[in-house]
Amino acid sequence: MPEPNYDEGAAIAPTGAGGAVDLAMSEGESLEKTPGGPLGTGPAGKPRSLWSDAWHDLRRNPVFIVSALVILFLVLISIWPSLIASGDPLDCDLAKAQEGSQPGHPFGFNGQGCDVYTRTVYGARTSVAVGVLATLGVAVLGSVLGGLAGFFGGGWDGFLSRITDVFFAIPVVLGGLVLLSVVTSNTVWPVIGFMVLLGWPQLSRIARGSVITAKQNDYVQAARALGASNSRMLLRHIAPNALAPVIVVATIALGTYISLEATLSFLGVGLKPPTVSWGIDISSASQYIRNAPHMLLWPAGALAVTVLAFIMLGDAVRDALDPKLR
């Protein structure tokens, strides 16, 4: 079952590999085409792993190359923003408020008279940090809980699935408003913590579904017959194969977390100064959209490009991992 939309501005892509029902069906179809099982076989008939196969595809995919380059660049300036921006993002002179582009300040100034270019460059760090850390948290928590539920089944599955449903039922933006409105810390951790708390059910469901599918594979059954321990089966046999859909969804979700941070700022509960973030700048600039659109354009553009890069990367990885689309 495809996952429900998070919220405006923070939707999560349906994957078509969401739940057990859907997976069971797609497995049936792919069996027809690839008798060797759901893992594809290489063009020369020599069996290759899913991953090396996917890598082979990705290297030739221009979408993947472009988005990977963009992400590489973002990561680079997140670590060393001073590489391309010499100023201090907190240097603001109200006398220059809302002024447009001028020499040395290509993007102009924002409502407080801070340099938009410098702030946009420095904002990358926060957005990338929020996106990457929230995704990591969600992926780890989600796949552990979902994986355990799928692997052990029965009562454990029922219990964990109900817990998942409980967290799933709370609208995300609503939860953010409630939880973050009383936060006093001005670091990124509360925002990341909230995203993990309400985001994990999505990946948990996917992990559960793919573990259930992987569990039924012949080689897992064989390992079980040979007396392999639970932990060995999970780690050596099931996890590597069940991970693919998790990674795909996580990459796409990463973009939506970055976007969600901006939405939270718009509602007044996002990150707090002196943290420099695109979300903070976009939401302040959105008030002045009529008089100084350049203040909105640059941070919003940077955010859109970043989200786009992660979603495209996720798309490309999905295409590469999905044997049906070859």
């Binding site: 109200l94 006398a95 407080q112 009383v182 007044g268 509960v269 707090k272 008089n291």
Partner: protein, 541 residues
Amino acid sequence: MRGATHAKWAALALAVALTATACGGGDDSGGSGADGIVSSSWGDPQNPLEPANTNEVQGGKVLAMIFRGLKQYDPKTGEAKDMLAERIETTDSTNFRITLKSGWTFSNGEKVTAKSFVDAWNYGAHLKNNQKNAFFFGQIEGYDQVHPEEGQAKAETMSGLKVVDDRTFTVKLSQKFSLWPETLGYAAFAPLPKAFFDDHDAWLSKPVGNGPYTVDSYAKGSQMALKRWDGYPGEDKAQNGGVTLKVYTDNNTAYTDLTAGNLDLVDDVPASQLKNVEADLGDRYINVPAGIIQTLSIPFYDKAWDTPDGDKLRKGISRAINREQITETIFQKTRTPAVDWTSPVLGEEGGFKNICGDFCSYDAAEAKKLVAEGGGIPGGTMRISYNADTGSHKEWVDAVCNSINNALGNNRACVGNPVGTFADYRNQVTTQKMTGPFRAGWQMDYPLIQNFLQPLYYTNASSNDGKWSNPEFDKLVDQANAEPDTQKAVEIFQRAEEVLRDDMGAIPLWYQNGSAGYSERVSNVALNPFSVPVYNEIKVN
């Protein structure tokens, strides 16, 4: 079969849509001339609309239309003029004898008598009625019996209130307060009809008062339609057919709706639209002084902020704030740099005077020196707290911090600290959790210098959030309240204000103007000194 299922779904969806639209619809193109209806922006009042329970502007707007009290503040000068009161007499500033004019009734026909006032005030003061403005009756003798600090009430009514006859009642205060009659224009002192006590729920869903308007319909959370009351006995009759107050989710949206011609009056133009307001509205934009002052309160309960040299630190911070530039750039001159702790609407006679002087003017070098002499910013960084949910405070707090940072040459000296909700913000303020300066806005209840000083800076006063305390200040305020001569009282209050300045008990920022915009459909629009539109004078073209 599947096709049939789809068709069923579609039909169901259509049916739901049709029922949903059926209850909507309705157009309010209000007519024109003397019977024309004015549509005005509104915010959902957060408390029930009882006079003594309404402490914010949105509810106050309605009360100003449907009630008239003993006094009424002149919409232009703010002077307290007799309305229902024929005379208020006293010889000792403690015992007052109030005589009502005859001929006043509530809109349901009931006569307004001395009892209407006494019952209303007793209701407002009594603990069991949970009225948030009960403290307004705190000066009346016997208040502590009906509203003790804790525990149950010991009396049903205040001993200081006595009905003499239909048109006369007497009030005894617990201590001298010569300017007390001037406070009686505040909404909490309005009279209440019997219907209020007999069927409270019905009254709340459709309040009945004695003002120039009556409530025609009230859909909580979306809109209230007020109609002119043709039988209104007062002189300030409504010049229009009625007012429809529409609740907006956001004041930006209300403004946008005004520019699109769907709304007649917006009484709070958002800061972000001020730059284009002249282009949008031309001369249909009002920007007039109002009795509102913004200050930065200091947490004196925090040791780091209450040091022997702390006054130098606070004066230094004050001098590091470029009020001129911020009011001009961020507020487009809808704020005026503050030069004292009161408001220009008081006028020089009422006590407005440049008392702050140099301490309120920007000088980066002086500021840096003073802060250093005062021991530097506590902890190296100070966080200015504000609530982020309403009022676009972020812009000016950031600007104040940037100004301080630039003056001190340290980009980490000051940083804004948004608090998610107003409720949580107030919670942190009242439980004394603030660790740095915090936003404080004061809107006067009545145009007296006393109202700008006593509730805010008197030891343990109801709004003394910073817990500043100075025995000399308290002594001067007591002395001023007992002084029967108004002019002399004002002078003593000003001396108290100088004490406040010498210790910089709070940093004054700017006076807030009332700003409003209106459509081409209406004219003669004005804001009173409380920044509330004078609805009854608006004419529909």
